[in-house]
């Protein structure tokens, strides 16, 4: 379908773009989701403000974070391929003291390389990726007025729901499609957000919330705000991470289940860790009960004990509420967690 007519303007500064934003004027990043949404007539803004022309949003760099450590600041318009090629993300540039190992940023690197296809990664930006719309087949069908689009019902709830959520669903059961967001949640990343009233910083963990009954969105971003930067804290010494994803196909596909783990090792013991799940909830999902099981356990170089792995794998499905056709996702998620724990050592 052709896109409904709209006006197109290039912003040169963040302030200029923010000034333009409204319900009918939306920001255009890589366009890989927004233009597809517009072609399907799922959204029809009267105008788009192009963010590609704002130089500061393309910057990526290692900057002083706290006094002794450095963090990575990623401009919202940095593309996924630029990010995957960055020396810090590849573990070739030091971020924090003793953080220079391939595995300290591996969770993000692996998640990006499992995202979409090479050509889409050249176009897709990190900011746009965090804000992409769900891939639920009811939501993406312009003829179906589902709850998320302002209708009364989530048709997936009693319908074809094999790709839908098993954790914390309702009133919408569409999974959040992003891989990088899951890795960033495990890394405790935060966002710099700019709106008419100025700027604020928010952790990714707070940024996402289950579908809101008023706004029917899953983020705390207001209509006239932009994400300008994604901030990743410097990994502590001994950090290692892993991202494991399964999809229906080996080539690009959205996750049926994914697990991101970022753990800090002290000697051979897991001193602290964050575990996040993808493909199973309406938002990137923190699995704190798994973290509790893993904390303080010996992991390296010998693998975690079978008893600990079994407890973690039990814990990850503690709160699930599968729908009619997606019970298999519980087994899948447990398998993915096993695989991730195995790769962590």
């Amino acid at each position: 379908m052709a896109i409904k007519p709209f006006a197109h303007g290039n912003a040169v500064t963040v302030a200029e773009a923010v000034e333009a934003l409204s319900a009918s004027c939306r920001p255009l990043a890589g366009g890989t989701d927004l233009l597809a949404m517009m072609k399907a007539d799922l959204t029809a803004p009267e105008s788009l403000v192009n963010l590609k022309t704002i130089p500061e949003l393309h910057e990526i760099g290692v900057v002083p974070d706290a006094e002794t450590t450095k963090g990575l600041r990623i401009g919202a318009m940095v593309t996924l391929s630029q990010l995957a090629a960055h020396p810090a993300v590849q573990g070739r540039q030091e971020l924090g003291r003793g953080s220079l190992t391939r595995s300290s940023m591996a969770v993000l690197h692996q998640a990006i390389l499992r995202t979409a296809s090479p050509q889409l990664r050249h176009m897709a930006t990190l900011g746009g990726n965090l804000l992409q719309e769900p891939r639920c087949w009811y939501y993406r069908n312009e003829l179906i007025p589902c709850w998320r689009k302002g209708g009364r019902l989530c048709y997936a709830y009693r319908g074809e729901n094999k790709r839908h959520v098993i954790l914390g669903g309702g009133p919408c059961y569409a999974v959040h499609p992003s891989d990088p967001a899951v890795a960033l949640l495990a890394m405790d990343a935060s966002l710099r957000i700019v709106g008419p009233a100025g700027e604020r910083t928010m952790s990714l963990a707070e940024f996402y919330h289950p579908p809101d009954r008023e706004t029917r969105t899953v983020t705390h971003l207001a209509i006239d705000e932009l994400i300008t930067e994604i901030r990743v804290p410097a990994p502590q010494a001994g950090t290692r991470g892993v991202y494991v994803k399964v999809a229906e196909r080996a080539a690009w596909d959205f996750a049926l289940a994914a697990v991101a783990i970022q753990a800090v090792m002290e000697g051979d013991t897991i001193r602290s860790c964050r575990v996040a799940l993808g493909g199973v909830a309406t938002i990137p999902w923190r699995a704190s009960q798994v973290e509790e099981v893993l904390m303080g356990q010996a992991s390296s170089p010998a693998p975690l004990s079978t008893a600990v792995i079994d407890r973690a794998v039990e814990a990850v499905v503690e709160d699930i509420r599968p729908l009619e056709h997606n019970g298999y996702k519980a087994d899948l998620l447990q398998g993915v967690l096993r695989e991730a724990l195995d790769q962590l050592r």
Binding site: F6, A7, A36, A40, W252
Partner: protein
């Protein structure tokens, strides 16, 4: 509603100007305004790669780029590969290895292969398959496509030519 935009690009080595609506994708501009129908409209939403072009040297799905945003940029489509001397070595390799059947995916495949070989002259089979993952083919089963890219790599390296 909205006015047309004036776009200037370096298209297949030539400076080209055209007018398009802000809502027209680069793929629509290429096919409907400029008459370059090599890039195909397969899915029109980023799934299939049949619309692949090189935008400033990087592989992109032209169905998800606005024509207006090609202004000031370099675009290479399949039409830019062959010259008076004959087919480009990648095209020739696709012919020799039977890297196509219906041919619908082929312009995108060849452009994707060019993007790879321009940067990595000696990719492994695994790397070729990984790189071409965004280009779907319903006919060949990919084996002959991988072979064609490998043959093109050998050919380009043998001649020391850029391509």
């Amino acid at each position: 509603m909205a006015d047309k935009v004036h776009v200037t690009t370096l298209l297949n080595g030539e400076s080209v100007e055209f007018l398009c609506a802000p809502s027209q994708t680069l793929l629509e501009c290429l096919r409907d305004i400029l008459g370059l129908t090599g890039a195909k409209n397969g899915c029109n939403d980023g799934n299939c790669g049949a619309c692949s072009v090189l935008l400033d040297g990087r592989l992109a799905n032209s169905c998800l780029v606005l024509g207006a945003e090609a202004d000031g940029r370099t675009v290479i489509t399949i039409e830019g590969l062959a010259d008076w001397a004959g087919l480009h070595p990648i095209q020739q390799s696709f012919v020799e290895e039977d890297g196509l059947q219906c041919g619908c995916c082929t312009p995108g495949m060849i452009i994707a292969a060019k993007a790879l070989l321009d940067r990595e002259p000696n990719p492994s089979d695994g790397r070729i398959r990984e790189w071409m993952a965004g280009n779907l083919c319903r006919c060949t089963g990919y084996e002959t496509i991988t072979r064609a890219v490998r043959r093109a790599a050998a050919h380009l390296n043998g001649e020391g030519a850029e391509g």
